[in-house]
Symmetry: C2
Subunit: 234 residues, 2 copies
DNA sequence: TTCATTTCCGTTGTCGACAAAAAAAATACA
DNA sequence: TGTATTTTTTTTGTCGACAACGGAAATGAA
C-alpha cells in the first residue's frame, strides 16, 4: 500500500512501466498476496507506482486477457476467483499437457535442453529437501515448463504455461494452510522422466508424464478431501 | 481507410468503443483484409473510428495478447506474420484438440448442445453446397467450437478457439488463391461425429475427431505442395 | 420504521496534449 | 560521390483533466 517511489521521482525508461506493473501484479495475484475477489483500484495503483493511470490500465488489460482479473464495465475490476467447480476440467487438461509435452520432449529435445531441465530439477530437489512448499511449486512449474520448451511446440508451450500459472494459485492456496511434506517420490519421478527423455523413449515419456500428472492430481485430491473433513468437524 | 463516422459524431455507449475496434480489427486480421506484416497506425485508426487513441490502444493491447499483432517498443505495431515453420506444431495441436473436444462432447454433452451443433452443421452444409470457401471456413470453425463447448472444459475450449482463429487465417490464405471445391466428405464426417456424440460413444468420437483433423491437415498439405510446385515453375 | 426518490461520491472510460524515441531526411565533410 | 552527423518528421508512451456511469448516502413520504 506504500508508494514504490517515495521522495523523489525516479526516472524510468520509456515503456518499462507497463511491464513493471504487469509482472508485479501477476506475481502478487499468483502468490495469493492479492486475495481472489479483492478489488483493484487504478488510482491507488497509480499512486503506488508513481505513474499515471494509463500504463496501469494497459497492464490491467493484459492481465484481464489472461483471465487473472475480471473487469466489470464501468465498475470495479477485481482479482479473479478461483474456479473450484472447474477443477476437474483443469486437472484433465493439466494431465494431458503433462503427457504431451513430455512425449514431445523425448522426441524433439536437443542436448542443451537437457542441461536446462537438469538445472530446474536440481532446484526442485533442493526445495523438497528444504521442505519449502512455495519454492517447490515454483521450481516444479519451471521444470515442466522447460520440458515443454524442449518439445518445440509453441502452442502446447503457451497453453501449458498458462495452466501452470493457474495451478500455482491453487496449489499455493492449499500448501499455505497445510504445509504437507511433499513426497520425495516426485523427485524420483522427475529423474525417471529425464531419463526417458534423454533415451528418446517416447512411449515411456508418455507413460511417465501421465502417471506424474495423475500423481499430482491425486495428491491435491487428498488435500481437498482432508480440507472438507476439517470443515465439517469444526 | 475512410471514416466510419463521417459527418456528425454518433453517440456511442461508454465502453463499447474498445469492443467495436477489437472485434472489427480481429476480423480484418483473420480474414486477411489486413495483410500479415502490414503496419498499424494508431492515429489513423483513431480517425477512422472517430475516437481517441486511448480506446484504440486498449484494443491493440488485447490483440497483442492473443498474438494477432506484434508491437515493437517505441516503434510501429504490425499484423503478426503467419508462422509457416510452426505449421507442423500447429497441426499437431489442432488434431489433438479435435480429438479431445469431440471425445469430451460425447461424454458430457446435453440435449441442448446437440441442437446448436446441428445448426452449425446445417450452415456448414449450405456453405459447401454453395462452394463458398470463406463461409465454409467460418461455419466449420463454429461447428467444432460448439462441440468443444459441449465438452464442458473451459481450458480446452479456450485453447481450441484460439487455434481455430489462427487456422482461419492460414486456411483463408490458401482458399482465396485456390478456390478448391471442398469435399462433400467433410459434411459426411461431421454427420458421423454428431451421431457418435449423440450415442455417447466416446471411442468412436475420439477416432472420428482424430480422423477428421488429420483429413483436414492432409487437405492443406496437398494445397501447400501444389503451391510449392507453382512457385518453382514460374 | 420502511420504502422510494434524489443527491452525492468514487471510479472508470475517454480525450487532447506533450515529451521521448527512432527512423527518415537533410546537411556537412572528406 | 560517398559517408558521417545533424535536423526534421513520424509515431509511440505518458500525463492530467473531465465526463459518464453506478453505487452509496441522504432525503422525503407513507
Amino acid at each position: 500500500m506504500t508508494d514504490i517511489d517515495p521522495g523523489q521521482t525516479t526516472e524510468r525508461k520509456r515503456g518499462s512501466g507497463v511491464k513493471l506493473v504487469y509482472d508485479l501484479l501477476r506475481d502478487e495475484i499468483l502468490d495469493l498476496k492479492l486475495e481472489p475477489g479483492s478489488a483493484i483500484d487504478e488510482v491507488q495503483l497509480a499512486n503506488r507506482f508513481g505513474m499515471s493511470r494509463t500504463p496501469i490500465r494497459e497492464a490491467l488489460v493484459r492481465l484481464a486477457g489472461e483471465g487473472l482479473i475480471e473487469t466489470l464495465p464501468n465498475r470495479s475490476t477485481m482479482v479473479s476467483n478461483i474456479d473450484f467447480l472447474g477443477m476437474p476440467a483443469y486437472f484433465d487438461a493439466l494431465v494431458l499437457m503433462y503427457r504431451v509435452t513430455t512425449r514431445l520432449a523425448a522426441q524433439y529435445h536437443r542436448a542443451e535442453d537437457l542441461k536446462i531441465i537438469r538445472v530446474h530439477q536440481t532446484e526442485f530437489s533442493a526445495a523438497v529437501a528444504a521442505q519449502d512448499a512455495l519454492e517447490m511449486i515454483a521450481t516444479n512449474a519451471a521444470f515442466h515448463s522447460a520440458i515443454a520448451a524442449a518439445g518445440r511446440n509453441a502452442y502446447y508451450f503457451g497453453f501449458f504455461d498458462r495452466l501452470l500459472g493457474e495451478g500455482r494459485r491453487m496449489l499455493r492456496l492449499y500448501y499455505q494452510s497445510y504445509d504437507d511434506r511433499l513426497p520425495q517420490r516426485f523427485v524420483e519421478e522427475h529423474e525417471e522422466i529425464i531419463a526417458a527423455i534423454e533415451a528418446r523413449d517416447i512411449a515411456a515419456a508418455d507413460r511417465l508424464g501421465k502417471a506424474h500428472g495423475e500423481q499430482i492430481v491425486e495428491q491435491i485430491g487428498r488435500l481437498l478431501t482432508r480440507n472438507d473433513r476439517l470443515d465439517l468437524e469444526l
